[in-house]
Amino acid sequence: MIRDITLGQYYPGDSWVHRLDARTKIIATLLYLIELFVVNNFYGFIIAAVALFVVIGISKVPLKFIFRGLSAVFLIIAFTFLLNMFMVDGTVLWQWKFLKITQEGLSRAFFMAIRLVLIIIGSSIMTLTTKPVELTDGLEKLLSPFSKIGLPSHEIALMMTIALRFIPTLMEETDKIIKAQQARGADFESGNLFQRAKSLIPILVPLFVSSFRIAQDLALAMEARCYHGGKGRTRMNEIRFDRGDAVAAVMMVLFLAAIIASRFIKL
């Protein structure tokens, strides 16, 4: 189940999208998300969807992989859809006791569901094509102007990098501890809610102890390599904009114009 969530996962590749500067991708994604809220009719969504699938096509990330991520949030989408379908007043199409479906409700439901799907695919395409390290590097660069007013951009980026890096490590650790306690006859499946919560203690205590140990080791290893924060720090792979990013910028502007234009199309 946890493995099914593609949001935040990286899909290795060497496409044009993969090679783009992380900053370009972050800005493009943010812009895309904002534009999804600018859209006020289905024509706008058609443009947005076509643009998205063009990007997916260029990125060569299999569609199967993208839709697997969607299935994890299917419940949220379904819930939004049903809520909108039944809650909006207007011309009644179908009615059963207190439940009624209106024409406006139906169109609003589709509208919201499409928007949600595009938001999720749009943001997952960024994380799928960008290594977590590049992503946090890009974020650090983008936030660095704010360090003048006291925002610790380097530290924020470092924290994100460490958090992302240690998710698999802690998952492995959890798996090991669960197995070890199972070998001592621990039972995590039966009993009522209270008993089950209590049965987590043999997992959580060792997991906490391990996390502190790992954190301590990491801090020591960083100090041993003279890490002292962001000031004056250089990096092995300096990120810079190149021609691809310029092309992407032009595409973004054209797309923005198309989206704004779509607002004026009358149904």
Partner: protein, 286 residues
């Protein structure tokens, strides 16, 4: 009590990009009361194999029989298997979680549904077996003990389940030489006193040669060699190719074998090597 493993096969992430065959057609037997030593390069499938023996992992295909009973056909209750087969993972001290040693060791017996008196008796017995004093340690927090002691407590936690088969995955990993010797002697004593089957994984060839009745060599998910220590360690070249080796004493006598024409020794331990050299020096020469 006996163990039979037949044609065991296990595949990680079947059908996914990361598909890996961890075990491939593994078969072997362990006789009652014997000690089986397992060696193999990192990633050769040792840990995966151990986890099959007490039902933590279900095989992709193949069977495991404990005492003639198949534990892989889905009909056996897991609690029954874990009561019989005790598994001590690598670095078991990282699984301690209770406030006191007594409570932590009592965790396993308590899960078996035993009454207070029986739990207490088992805790006392297992603390004795791992070479600690019940009155000294029972109320101490396991977290404030030394590494070697923590490991003893963790092993006691498995022994308290009163298993008929005890499996240890690298019981001496990361210990200093004196704790290493102590733990090994302790494991041997537990085996002798409880009269159980002992299975242990080690990267220390001298330990394997000294302790085991039978040695299993894993390589690439398959059983590469199987036999008594003398048989297995006579394949020095093959073991070296697998990234393994022979006990240090054997390495030395092999060098002497090749340089001194009329000297011949197949010693595995330092004592045996010393005996062979002594006999050669005292015997009629050239």
């Amino acid at each position: 009590m006996s163990i039979s493993v037949r044609n065991l096969r296990y595949v990680y992430n079947p059908g996914m990009p990361g598909e890996t065959v961890a075990l491939d057609d593994v078969s072997f037997d362990v006789a009652d009361g014997s000690i089986l030593g397992i060696i193999g390069h990192t990633g050769s499938g040792k840990s995966t194999l151990l986890q099959h023996l007490n039902g933590l992992i279900a095989p992709t295909s193949g069977d495991v029989y404990i005492d003639g009973q198949c534990i892989t056909d889905g009909s056996t209750k897991m609690v029954d298997i874990r009561r019989k087969v005790g598994l001590v993972f690598q670095y078991p001290e990282y699984q301690l979680f209770e406030e006191t040693v007594q409570k932590d060791i009592g965790f396993g017996p308590k899960n078996l549904g035993l009454d207070e008196a029986e739990i207490d008796a088992r805790v006392r017995e297992s603390i004795r077996l791992v070479g600690l004093e019940y009155d000294d340690v029972k109320d101490r927090s396991p977290f404030e003990m030394s590494g070697g002691m923590k490991r003893r407590v963790a092993i006691a936690g498995v022994i308290a389940m009163n298993p008929k088969i005890l499996i240890l995955d690298e019981p001496t990993a990361g210990l200093d030489p004196s704790a290493h010797r102590d733990i090994l002697a302790m494991v041997k004593r537990i085996h002798d006193e409880m009269g159980i089957i002992l299975i242990f994984v080690s990267h220390n060839m001298a330990d394997i040669a000294e302790m085991s009745d039978k040695v299993l060599v894993m390589s690439g998910g398959k059983v590469a060699l199987e036999g008594t220590p003398a048989e297995v360690f006579s394949h020095g070249k093959m073991l070296a190719d697998m990234g393994l080796g022979v006990p240090p004493a054997r390495e030395i006598v092999e060098i002497i074998n090749s340089r001194v024409p009329d000297f011949r020794s197949e010693a595995l331990s330092i004592d045996e090597a010393a005996e062979d050299i002594k006999r050669y020096l005292e015997g009629p020469r050239g």
